[in-house]
Amino acid sequence: MQDKEYVGFSALPSQLHRKSVKKGFDFTLMVAGESGLGKSTLINSLFLTNLYEDRQVPEASARLTRTLTIERRSVEIEEGGIKVKLTLVDTPGFGDAVDCSDCWLPVVRFIEEQFEQYLRDESGLNRKNIQDSRVHCCLYFISPFGRGLRPLDVAFLRAMHEKVNIIPVIGKADALMPKETQALKQKIRDQLKEEEINIYQFPECDSDEDEEFKRQDAEMKERIPFAVVGSSEVVRDGGTSRPVRGRCYSWGTVEVENPHHCDFLNLRRMLVQTHLQDLKEVTHDLLYEGYRARCLQSLARPGARDRTSRSKLSRQSATEIPLPMLPLAETEKLIREKDEELRRMQEMLEKMQAQMQQSQAPGEQSDSL
């Protein structure tokens, strides 16, 4: 454009867009909740892939002694020229055992390990190709059969809500009649408030959106937690005889993409179509920064409260990489040096103050600093 009024930086968004299209997009989604709530089916429905093809669910007697494991599965999805590398983190075994005490600890540790890895990479020397393996979102499945959140749900959510974006969903929502769904959602919302659990807040609409959009957005937010139904099958609905993704019962067919039947469309729209980027940003700007601050603070105060975590960090680092090359130790060294400098400056200040008092020169305040 040769127009002298036009500088040209309004083209920036499309430049960014082109770059990210080339670079591709990473997203890590964790799915958690007790087994049998339709998690895998929902993921397959959300991303229209068959990620759980060769799945074998072990029988009860095998699960008696099984501990919780963390499984990661990656798939590359391409749509409209944009490549997404979707990593799914699964937690089979959660909530299964007779005694589930502390069964969420491995999950919490896993999330913190990803933060720790990122922190290390970020403080390191080669930062060009940092792999972001941090969990950007956790879909937590609540049973439709209970009367709200169960003690295990509350314990898990409280352990995780400051470390990952949580989106609670009600699984197998075709077990509920409309009134029951409403009552359950309200109960869950009340419980979340009572237990002070912070779930992911979908951001406000831009103020320049039209009223209709804002109304729809508000309506959608009222439906949280979303009551979802998943299906990996396309069935022919008797009434309209068009193929729909759904579940065929003797009394009718549930259509997964019918907003009167369940909130699947809402979830897909809000999670995949509009807020993937925001989830990543919140993970980076809020949750990761919180972790980083806590971590560095405990390093900066040697001998202070978090001695254990600090020593754990340095011990871990020491065993993995030889000392001089250690990025974390470098940061630690820098902080120590700065501390030393501060201490020296403080000493000098005190000395000078003492000198001033000794000089006993009335009215004369020599500012030798």
């Binding site: 669910v57 007697s61 439709p144 009367r147 009552a183 019962y249 003797s250 009394w251 009718g252 039947h261």
Partner: protein
């Protein structure tokens, strides 16, 4: 096998096969068979009518326990089974129902009447089961309760001056609610049934079965049956207690094909094809509780109430109770509890439940 017999005192002689009570003529008819061994009509076949009359006068007891995680529809199902509000229900979500920290046992009795027959029905609820984070041994209070009822009955039985009719609080039937995960049993389900199937009649049911399609239901049932078999869990009707071939064939069919019954319960009625039916109304259709194409509630009801009610009581009395009694007497050196050699008084019922006979 259809046992419409009223409750009798433990006599094995009375547990013969009898057809459904039909309206009897006022005067007994002479037998038509010419090969009758009797030289005339004696009238022993009127015993059935006499028993029926007695039962109608005295009524009978039936105690049913429901076990399962909260929210699986236990109370609704029992209310639907007996077509009355016999189970206290946390009907409204708004009510502050706190999950109890330990398993509680709540027994509520009702007298319901049908066709002149009175039944004292006691529903024993077990809120708190399976709801905690740590559910280790959460079946112990339940086992303890069941054994306490056996103990109560035993104490009455060994009394010198016994009551004419010992009040029967023993648990005749335990409905165990399986969550419809679609995968398999949960470890807690296995643990509970392993411990309790030797002390009480357990009838496993798949709760809230309206979340499973026909194929999912049939696969799930198969898997559950296999898991129970592999773990040596015998649910009611137990194979070892089949009395004759007729019993065995009938029960085999139920054991291998129908059970565990996949049920749906409801206390609401809707209009379907001009009739009012019990059901659940969803945007995609109405689930009719008593429609066999929709769920197996009717099968469960017929099984527990219409055909096997008496047998449930008898197996409880003749088998489970006798096992308990024998163990108690053995522990006491062959003497009834409370009495010792040379008149010494022995310690009372152990606080921990008696280990079930293997």
């Amino acid at each position: 096998m259809s046992k419409g017999l009223p409750e009798t005192r433990s006599d094995a002689a009375m547990s013969e096969l009898v057809p459904e009570p039909r309206p009897k003529p006022a005067v007994p008819m002479k037998p038509v068979s010419i090969n009758s061994n009797l030289l005339g009509y004696v009238g022993i076949d009127t015993i059935i009518e006499q028993m029926r009359k007695k039962t109608m006068k005295t009524g009978f007891d039936f105690n049913i326990m429901v076990v399962g995680q909260s929210g699986l529809g236990k109370s609704t199902l029992v209310n639907t089974l007996f077509k009355s509000q016999v189970s206290r229900k946390a009907a409204s979500w708004n009510r502050e129902e706190k999950i109890p920290k330990t398993v509680e046992i709540k027994a509520i009795g009702h007298v319901i009447e049908e066709g002149g027959v009175k039944m004292k029905l006691t529903v024993i609820d077990t809120p708190g089961f399976g709801d905690q984070i740590n559910n280790e041994n959460c079946w112990e209070p339940i086992e303890k309760y069941i054994n306490e009822q056996y103990e109560k009955f035993l104490k009455e039985e060994v009394n010198i001056a016994r009551k004419k009719r010992i009040p029967d609080t023993r648990v005749h039937c335990c409905l165990y609610f399986i969550s419809p995960t679609g995968h398999s049993l949960r470890p807690l389900d296995l643990e509970f049934m392993k411990h309790l199937s030797k002390v009480v009649n357990i009838i496993p049911v798949i709760a809230k079965a309206d979340t499973m399609t026909l194929e999912e239901k049939s696969e799930f049932k198969q898997r559950v049956r296999k898991e129970l078999e592999v773990n040596g869990i015998e649910f009611y009707p137990q194979k070892e207690f089949d009395e004759d071939l007729e019993d065995k064939t009938e029960n085999d069919k139920i054991r291998q094909e129908s059970m565990p019954f996949a049920v749906v319960g409801s206390d609401k009625e809707y209009q379907v094809n001009g009739k009012r039916v019990l059901g659940r109304k969803t945007p995609w259709g109405i689930i009719e509780v008593e429609n066999l194409n929709h769920c197996e509630f009717a099968l469960l009801r017929d099984f527990v109430i219409r055909t096997h009610l008496q047998d449930l009581k008898e197996v409880t009395h003749n088998i489970h109770y006798e096992t308990y009694r024998a163990k108690r007497l053995n522990d006491n050196g062959g003497l009834p509890p409370g009495e010792g050699l040379l008149g010494t008084v022995l310690p009372p019922v152990p606080a921990t439940p008696c280990p079930s006979a293997e």
